[in-house]
Symmetry: C2
């Protein structure tokens, strides 16, 4: 598996090599480093060039695998700046060198203010400075305090982005009750803090906002609190001692349903599993499908060299970024635009709960990511299972010989779940017998709640006495490097329109004109035309075709990218907090010429650089010809999340789901699910 | 079950009563009747008035069930005209009367030319008159003949509609090879026939079309054939004797897939089924859900009095009509607009194949429909099964007490499959633990194929040497009589838009203006505003709410109608062949005030009366107020079907699927799936 993650041993070896004085990097051990120190933030595999990879895959016995490289991110607190390197070839030898990784990024340097956290507690000392000074007020106004003690009754949450272009690092802190599901218990108390630079002693509180009143300092707030000029929120049931706040936990409630004391139906493969998993290679195969698994810190699970019936179909299928952009009438919601790659959706992968997060028969695979505090390994990071889809993939009741039959529908699912703070993302890749893949994302977990008051009416829904769910959009981008019948592909745009046409065989009874549909098929020749939305009423669609490879009936072999559940794009365009760092989210999908210098549509630093992103997706679209080239589709799923009472305690995956399909389009000569043995053909009675 | 179908005995009793000379209807036994005779076409239950039904349901011990009525359709060949009657109360007694059913229809009479078939062979004698005269030509041009013999090598297919307003009955006959899957073997030979009136001896051939040449008679066609002026189609591989035409059957092909010799995973309820089915009552319950089943000739399975957690949620959920509108450059495809209710999608229900069409554990229920040739009973017309959905309905990995857990996802599916000629429709109703219903339609079966030639390029795709799949739209309409927290409901339209807003707490670092989303909630007050499409980018949606019933957080209790897979509407508007008989298909959904006089959006005669339909959907929308009224939603699913090679032999259900959700929207105070016992709550390690 040439895409496999580094082992812990490989990581340790690279780290030692980097820490060697010969490198001259003046590194401090990551877990001991101060902000002013230089330390390694990330070490992970860097995927090989496709040409070398494909050459090897095509002739593994004669062509050696591509050289292995690692990507290394170093925080240079001493400057301060962030640098990304390539280290290789691996394993470490006299040929190994260190080279700055620049050609995949769109600005000269990665500003220090865009950096990731080493620990979640970086802001604690700052809050510790001023929250005790506010304790008298927070106790009276909210019934809670944060004194920096284990029994603190308030805890902090933060907004993002932290910067516009890297010139500062500032964020809004929103205080919440320190109880299970704190995201649903904001108290309506906000602090704007400046955490620029490498000297935490210089960090400062810029503003306090309470009940739409803005104060420049602790003193001015406390003055208003004492002298009676503070306009207070109305009486709050949630801070009475008698109030039961356990509604934000997942404890069972209510009467059990009829027969729910019985275990539910369970999928069993009585003759054994029908899929194969090579744990060493991280290779999965099922019913003509085969693929390798990759895994990284930023986005977790990725799939490589997906083949169907012995032909490569997708070179790379990998999530790129997850956006969540909020709205509201308070400092937190109105300024939040998360890009979860910052937090590391791979690093945030969780052990799945057998029998609950995946069906009983699932096979689990581990994943390891590197962090500044050491390697993080999860034994059940990935699960794989086959299920009866519950309906035949094709069937017909007929009377002539061979017409009457049914083919069972089965689906193989590969899943990984990442919990990024409040939210749980379920990444599913679902393989069908006919050559179709459904790429589905479902969400669960906690809302990022707001404090409910009538002034928030347009920005969400009240979900408890003083809590609301805040309006937001989720958009998740996938890289889909389809290689349809080879590397040379073109982008087929199909639309249908209504025509008025006269036919010679028509007569006065119906009139001689017919109004009907007609298909227009067009190859989009240039990247500039390949920033795409689904057409009105879904009248048409998009496909990768190889114009030079036809099926037996003269149609170019193709695979369609077909919308599934919730085929949406981002609602808000032009927000400064997402100005140019997530431009992929403006479209339902986009297609660009594949480049080694454009491996991904985002970066972990993009969140904090909306004005000047490290990866600027629009730069991929520079007028290049995309006919019979190696193309990549960047496809979005997502959800307009208008929260509601039923999001409490956690969002339901059945409604918070979005997907797209990759499905054969004249790729074959016929439906290949006819190959199934798990099918029946009857003689009509 | 006050919606139950009539038993065969009840039907026989009604028939005897109608045939009694006392009624004076001068009826002939249906299976012996000529077109000039009067005979009974249909006897089936007529659903009771909702007020009487609800009164009874609310107090079954004190209020009697509503009187039972039958609807009876009589073909008066002696006039000719069609009449629809109500017969009741039932059982037959001295109080039983016969009354013409007019108030649910929008024209004074039902024209005889719109009538349904008694047998599929009605046109055979006409073809038998002229096809032998053409045999010399068909043998040479197509390699086949239709002499009216059992070994005929050509068979006929027909187009619809047959009439515009009832003033004539004409149709295009398209000839196909008489081999398995004939729909995929059209030979490009078309006859326009007039079959008006009740005297088949007067029926006549109006035109012959071959290879874009139009002939007014058999003689003129044969003259051209003999004198060399006929422009012939190019040489056709499909009519060579050596050609294997079995590709249109469902025989297994190709190499078996790895491990496919094993049985696939199978869902087993080891402690017994968790749903209950009362076969006598045709009542189904599962996990807080309960509902009655109905079944009729026109559209098959319907669901009644759907309750969740003891509250009525849907009074009636029933498919109404299935449209398939074609396009092409030949007389057949360019003039076809099927409305399958004409054929009787209930009458066309098929026995499902256990273990293939439904999973092994499914429970089957029978259904009986009446036809002029007798009762049709199917033992396995309906199946019911529970399945693991394959993902938790909600989950979170958390660290505080009560945050970390997962609830298994289960779905109960109620299914029925109708095969209307070439096409198979899978009607699925899928019930979720949280109160959500997904209404899903999947299609399989055969394409209505066309003869492939380059002139057809804009109208489909070549799928074999001389066969094509023709472009068409499917739209299927459902009646959804939601009763959300009572009968008084309002239609909530939610949209989101982008706003530019200044906030006092913002500063020069980001600018003082925020660009963000905002929700607009509006009650649509009048039916005129309730012909609805999904908003651009799905920014918003529609829900039924009871404005007077709030959940604990002050939001009106509601249920949203949420798009699922393929949320489309009909592409073509204005076609004469679908002018006013399927106006529901122009929208994604529509909401009208519920009326006893508007029980359904279509009728079996609508197909043949596009210019003057028996039920005109637009007439429901007459400016009535729809705030806090009993409302009905008419919701569409569908698919733009651009055929492709993979539709052969049969369309795949995974891609040919469309759905919508009914899902709680602040209906509860919280997610009620928390009530599940099949859940786990963990302490963080
Ligand atoms: Ca480019
Ligand atoms: Ca490619
Ligand atoms: Ca009305
Ligand atoms: Ca209603
Ligand atoms: Cu959300
Ligand atoms: Cu179709």
């Amino acid at each position: 598996n040439i895409w496999a993650s580094l082992t812990v041993n490989e990581t340790v070896e690279i780290q030692s090599w980097l820490e060697s004085p010969d490198r001259g990097l003046n590194l401090t051990q990551s877990d001991l480093a101060e902000l002013t120190d230089n330390f390694i933030y990330l070490i992970e595999v860097y995927q090989p060039p496709k040409a070398a990879a494909v050459a090897y895959l095509n002739s593994p016995s004669t062509i050696p695998p591509p050289d292995k490289y690692a990507r290394v991110t170093v925080h240079y607190g001493s400057v301060p700046v962030i640098k990304d390197y390539l280290v290789g070839p691996l394993p470490i030898s006299s040929k190994t060198s260190l080279e700055e990784l620049k050609d995949i990024y769109h600005r000269d340097e990665i500003p220090y203010h865009a950096r990731g956290f080493v620990r979640g507690t970086e802001l604690t000392p700052l809050a510790g400075k001023y929250m005790p000074l506010l304790a008298e007020a927070t106790q009276e106004l909210f019934g809670g305090v944060a004194l920096g003690l284990p029994n603190d009754t308030l805890i902090a949450g933060a907004s993002a982005p932290f910067s516009f272009d890297g010139s500062f690092r500032r964020l809004w802190v929103s205080w919440r009750r320190n109880i299970p599901g704190p995201w649903l218990h904001p108290i309506n108390f906000f602090h704007y803090v400046d955490v620029s630079g490498t000297d935490p002693s210089q960090w400062s509180l810029l503003k306090i906002v309470y009940n739409h009143q803005v104060f420049p300092s602790v003193e001015s707030f406390m003055d208003a609190f004492h002298n009676g000029t503070l306009k207070r929120l109305p009486d709050r049931p949630d801070q009475r001692d008698t109030q039961d706040l356990s509604w934000s936990a997942r404890h069972r409630i209510g009467e059990p349903r009829d027969l729910d004391h019985l275990p539910g139906p369970r999928s069993v493969s009585f003759a054994g599993l029908r899929f194969r998993v090579d744990r060493t290679l991280q290779y999965v195969s099922w019913m003509g499908w085969g693929l390798y698994l990759g895994f990284n810190r930023d986005m977790g699970l990725s799939l490589w060299d997906i083949r169907f019936k012995n032909e490569r179909l997708v070179y790379e299928l990998a999530p790129q970024e997850a956006l969540a952009q909020y709205a509201g009438n308070d400092p937190m919601q109105a300024t939040t635009a998360w890009l979860d790659r910052f937090f590391g959706m791979g690093q945030a992968v969780r052990d799945m709960i057998p029998g609950y997060d995946c069906p009983y028969e699932a096979v689990y695979l581990p994943a390891t990511t590197h962090s500044p505090l050491g390697s993080i390994s999860r034994d059940r990071a990935i699960c794989i299972f086959e299920q009866d889809s519950g309906r035949p993939i094709s069937r017909h009741t007929g009377y002539m010989d061979g017409e009457f039959g049914s083919i069972r529908g089965y689906v193989l699912t590969i899943r990984s779940i990442s919990t990024v703070g409040n939210y749980d993302y379920l990444f599913d890749y679902m393989f069908h017998f006919d050559g179709t893949i459904e790429v589905r994302l479902s969400a669960s977990g906690y809302l990022q709640g707001g404090y409910w008051e009538p002034l928030q009416a347009g920005y969400g829904s009240q979900i408890r006495d003083t809590s609301m769910g805040s309006l937001h959009d989720h958009v998740i981008n996938y890289k889909v490097d389809l290689d349809v019948a080879g590397l040379s592909n073109s982008l087929l745009s199909t639309t249908t329109h209504v025509e008025h046409v006269e036919h010679p065989w028509l007569d006065e009874d119906w009139g001689t004109e017919v109004i009907q549909q007609k298909i227009n098929r067009e190859i989009i020749e240039n990247e500039d035309g390949a920033l795409l939305n689904w057409p009105e009423n879904f009248q048409g669609g998009y496909a990768f075709v190889n114009s030079e490879e036809k099926n037996s009936w003269g149609n170019p072999r193709g695979y369609a990218i077909h919308p599934g559940y919730s085929p949406i794009r981002n609602t808000v365009v032009g927000s400064k907090r997402l100005l140019n760092n997530a431009n992929w989210a403006r479209y339902n999908l986009a297609v660009s010429k594949r480049k080694e210098t454009e491996p991904t549509s985002s970066s972990m630093w993009n969140m904090n650089l909306p004005g000047d992103p490290v990866v600027d997706f629009h730069k991929f679209f520079d007028g290049e010809n995309i006919t019979q080239e190696d193309l990549v589709a960047w496809v979005n799923v997502g959800m307009h999340h208008l929260p509601q009472a039923e999001d409490v305690p956690n969002t339901r995956t059945n409604m918070a789901a979005s997907s797209f399909f990759l499905t054969p389009l004249n790729y074959f000569d016929t439906d290949v699910s006819l190959e199934s043995i798990n099918a029946i053909l009857l003689r009509a009675p």
